[in-house]
Symmetry: C2
Subunit: 217 residues, 2 copies
C-alpha cells in the first residue's frame, strides 16, 4: 500500500444510467433552475469532471434525461377507436409531464431526438395513418397535437408552481385585482374563471376535444 494511495473512488462506480437517474432525482427535488452538474457529481461522490466521461456537456445530459423520461409514455392500446387512441396518447404524455415537471421544459428547449421519443411519435403517427389520414395531414395533425399538449401542460405546470409559492400567488392575485375594472372589464369579470381554468383535467380535455372535434369534422 503505497503512501500516496488516495481515497479514490473505485473504477466503475459510474454509468450513464446511474448518472441519469441521479440527475433526474436531483432535478425533481430542487427544480430545474437549481440543477447543476456539480450537484449531480456531489450526489454521486465524484468530481464534476467525472460526468464528462459519459456526456459531452450539460445539454447532452439533458437529452439523455428527456429520453429516459419519454420511455415512461405507455404504448398505444390497439383495441380502441382511433380518436380514443389519440386521446390516450395525449393524456399519457400530459400525465407524464405533470409527474415530471422538468420534462416539459426539456421538451420545449431541445429538439426531439432519441429512441424513446421516436417510439412515442411512431405510436401517434401510426394511429393517424391507420385512421386514413394522408401523409401530410398525419404529420400536420401530429405536430398540432404535440404542440398543444406541450403548451397546455407547460402552462398548467407554470400556474401550479406559482400557486405553490404563496408569496408569488398573492402577488399575482393582487396584481390582477388592481387592474382597473373600467379598462379591463372582461378580465376582471372572468378572473375567477380564468384562475379556475388555468389547469386541470377538464381544461386539458376541453382543448383536446376542440381539436378532435375539428379533426372529425
Amino acid at each position: 500500500m503505497p503512501a500516496s494511495s488516495r481515497a479514490r473512488t473505485p473504477r466503475n462506480t459510474l454509468s450513464p444510467e446511474l448518472i441519469v437517474r441521479t440527475a433526474l432525482d436531483l432535478m425533481e427535488a430542487k427544480g430545474l433552475h437549481a440543477f447543476s452538474l456539480r450537484g449531480v457529481a456531489g450526489e454521486l461522490g465524484v468530481g464534476p469532471m467525472a460526468l464528462y466521461t459519459y456526456f459531452r456537456n450539460k445539454d447532452d445530459l439533458y437529452d439523455a434525461i428527456r429520453d429516459h423520461l419519454m420511455a415512461l409514455v405507455p404504448d398505444v392500446p390497439q383495441d380502441l377507436p382511433w380518436l380514443d387512441q389519440v386521446r390516450f396518447v395525449c393524456r399519457g404524455l400530459r400525465a407524464l409531464m405533470l409527474q415530471h415537471p422538468c420534462l416539459a421544459q426539456l421538451l420545449a428547449s431541445r429538439p426531439l431526438s432519441g429512441k424513446e421519443t421516436a417510439r412515442v411519435a411512431e405510436g401517434l403517427l401510426g394511429v393517424l395513418r391507420a385512421a386514413g389520414l394522408e401523409p401530410e395531414a398525419a404529420a400536420r395533425t401530429h405536430t398540432t397535437l404535440f404542440t398543444y399538449v406541450l403548451g397546455a401542460t407547460t402552462w398548467e405546470i407554470q400556474m401550479a408552481s406559482e400557486r405553490l409559492d404563496p408569496d408569488a400567488w398573492r402577488r399575482l392575485r393582487t396584481s390582477m385585482e388592481s387592474l382597473s375594472a373600467h379598462e379591463f372589464p372582461t378580465v376582471v369579470e372572468l378572473a375567477p374563471e380564468l384562475a379556475r381554468t388555468s389547469g386541470g383535467d377538464e381544461q386539458f380535455d376541453y382543448g383536446l376535444d376542440l381539436l378532435l372535434a375539428g379533426l372529425a369534422s
Copy 2:
C-alpha cells in the same frame, strides 16, 4: 476638485424603460441563454448593481421585458366576424413571438402579469364573450387558444433555431435516418413531412383551424 473624484456616470442616466430596451436588444442579439445582468449593465456603461435600483432581481426584469413586448400585440379590429377576430389575435401573438423569439420563453417560464398582458387577454376574452360564450366557456377557450399559440410557436422557434445551427441540424437528420425503418416505419416514412410541417404559417393555421372548427361545431 478633490483628487478622489472618479469618472462617475452622472445621476439620472438610467430609467426602467432604458434598461428594458437595452436588455431586450441584448437578448435578441445574443440569445436568452447568453443574457446576463452584467451584460446589460456593461452596455449601459454602469455597474451591475445599478440595475437593482430599478428591478428587484433578474426575474423582475424578465417580467418587465415581457410586458414591454406584449405592448406590441395589436388591438383587435372591431369590424370582423368573431372567428376572424380570434384568428387575428392568435396570429398577431404568434407573429410577435417569431419576431422576438425570447418572448416565447418568457411567456412559458413566468406567470402572466402586467398591464399589457392584461390588455391582450381583455381583447380576446371580449371577443369570445361578445360571440355569446358563457363565462366558463370563454375562459376555457381563452386558455386553450393561448396555450396552443404558446406551444406551437415555441416549438416552431425551437425547430427554426435548430435549423440555423448547421451542425445540430445535421446531427438531427442523421439521428432520424439512423432510426430503424423496421422499428419505426411511420416515423421514417413521414420524416420529410414532419420536417416540413414543423413550422410555418400553414402548420400554425392548420392547428388553429382545427380549434376554430371545433369551436364552431
